[in-house]
Amino acid sequence: MRRRQFLGGLIAGPWVASAAGETLVIRNAKILTVTRGSFDGAILIRDGKIVEAGPTVNTPAAARIIDAAGQFVMPGIIDCHSHIGTEAVNEGSVSVSSMTGIEDTVNPEDIGIYRALAGGVTTANILHGSANAIGGKNVVIKMRWGKNAAEILLAGAAPGIKFALGENPKRRGGGLGAQLRYPATRMGVEDVIRDAFSEAKAYKAAWDDYNLGAARGERRIPPRRDLRLEPLVEVLEGKRFVHAHCYRADEILMLLRVADDFGFKVRTLQHVLEGYKVAKEIKEHGAGASTFSDWWSYKMEAFDAIPYNAALMHRRGVLVSLNSDSSELMRHLNQEAAKTVRYGGLSDEEALALITINPAKQLAIDDRVGSIEPGKDADLVIYDKHPLSNYAKVQRVFIDGQLYFDRDQDMSERAGKAERRKTLHEKQKPVPARRPQ
């Protein structure tokens, strides 16, 4: 059966615009806070923030009530690896494309955002692709469908950059007719990364030297600013997170060694399918791991994957999340989490943490999102059944206390949109050219 795709509004905005100061109470719900247990109760929301969550909450007279009888509420899902909402993914022409950034090409009208929302995702880490050893800069977005590009960015999220190891960056790119591109081996990938960081150190030294001279009153032309090296200097200074695409144990250890040599930390290892083999080393470095539940064998370097990967790394004390890297998989990350209960025996709460509070911690946004706690953003998903059930369907999604997805509303608008589409299609058909009699 073909997966049904939600259509989304053409110029949709949030269906319920919450006025400043609006108070909302979701009640009679089964609440899965992820960090503070689960209970039957209610959530009080004011100004887009969770004020209270418990078996009973203070309900002001003016509050708008949402009755969620028999339904489940969980924190909005966070996807630590996605490429939706951008009009470019790879700058594959060079092996170091750190001068590029997703922020320049964010597309808030990508239908993928609406569909992710319909799958319960409220926040995602939008990464550059894996075409090169050092890729471009990321952004973290909220699925605020209908808002402008600047408005979907999660303000305050730590800046990051994509790295990639293994087969993708050593491919020579471009296909027929394309020029060969260094590197062509895993050795070369390591060399490219070391070389780039050596350059970055020299660049920083040149600026430090210039600033020293300028402070002494020397008359010198300042160094040229280099947008390729500046993000790498930020990595060396601990101001920018490294999110590294990787598969094999050997390349994971290589990157951790390179990072130790240059004195920076790898924030997350992405995909990390053989992470279970080197979980101790990952834990020692302090890197997080963001993996798939059971997606593998699509290429040589992905053959040694096992469905126990997430659970095994988790048991070793690694901070683990599950990601999608796909606009389709993104719509059922709850089911991906459920697989770790079957493979590895994680508890319901541990499984849900893999797609909520853990990715929030990896992205250092856990003060804002990732669990149902007072003071956090009211990013909430209402399911009709327990979200770890295959039968659960997303009913409503709130971001910052505003309703951005409502299944009933979507369903009720479909007929009208189909009709409009048919009308316009007929109207725009080219008039057949008249033939001479």
Binding site: M99, T100, G173, G177, R421
Partner: protein, 436 residues
Amino acid sequence: MKRRQLLLAAASAAAFGQSGSPDYFAIVNAAIHPVSGPAVGSGTLLVRNGLIEAVGANLPVPAGAWTIEGKGLHVYPGLIDALSHWGLPAARPSAAGGAGRRRTPDDGPANVQFPEEGGPEERPSNTSWLKASELVQPNDANLIAARNAGYATAVVFPSAGIFAGQGTALNLGGGRVGDMVVGGPAGLYLTMAAVRSSGAGFPGSLMGSFAYIRQIYLDARHYKLAKAMYAENPRGLPRPSYDRALEGVLEAPRILLPANRRVEMERMIHFAQELKVPYLLYGGVESWRSAGILKAANAPLLVSLRWPQRDREADPEAVDSLRTLETRELAPSGPSALEKAGVPFAFYSGGIERPADIRKAVRRAVDAGLSNEGALRAMTLHAARMYGLHDRLGSLEAGKIANLFVTDGDWLAEKTAVKMVFIDGRKWEPSAGRPE
């Protein structure tokens, strides 16, 4: 041809300009549409030595001025194509142009040859030093066809590459290019085309193009600083290398940035503000839903008259997305939305070559709610204003350049014919009886 009321008084050859029109003349009894002010039902427009001397209802015709009877005729400022590639030579494929590159709708016609690149300062896809004024072919057939349709001026730009080159406003009087140029450099035309396929050179993506442009501006400012410091006192300083690609970037008074969809408008406004460069957006397909963000930034927009339409070759059974269908349906209502919101905009030909098609395209915008006057302004005074040329072009006012066109009816009506076009005061008559 109906009532052709053109009474030139007996003439001596000496009083006529090169093309056979007099240097000092008055159009009398015509409906005059100055654009800068209210229309005059029946008035006189006086031209001397290529400039408008006076416009008004009851002007006496001075002794020595020739008279052109304008009864039943309408006089408008000469039309301006606010972003044009007319008159530029066709592109020749070259290595620097990006072999195998796909053309995008933002490209405009392919019409500029890339000189050979090379040297240590190679900056791919940057030919900011190219000047339209040095490339234009003054008697190009497109320029003549445009003139016959009422166009007196085109702001012409090279269009290949990311930094394509410098534009120039040209009066379409033909002859020597030096006599056609109006004003200084009009601006630098940018495209966001990723010029090289993946793996074959930077930039190879939209993301890469943004990073590349940003670095070029940093480099240009660094170059400017280094040159200034060196000029002030060269002793002890490394000599900055001459870089023509950065010279062109620094010389441009403004940049033109492509922005068709709303997301592109938001993006480009943000980008131009970051670069701290005066800018014009061009494209505007989704201006019907973008007036708010344009107004908030007071962003000037050049709207292409080539409205999106279904490809004639498309599978008749294939149904496009609702978003695509709505865009085609509503794109011509954009100018009306801009007019209501008070967003500065001007029209450009957008690659349409037949003048009849341009008029048809303008009528679609008017049918969708744009005022007739608003449409005329978008092709005259507002177009001039985009380039700071409204002090000399774009309206019928004393002292301005005598660019005008004369019709036998409302300029937009289907059956109206252009009877005369004056450029720098010189008269051109569209060849009678020839289809456009």
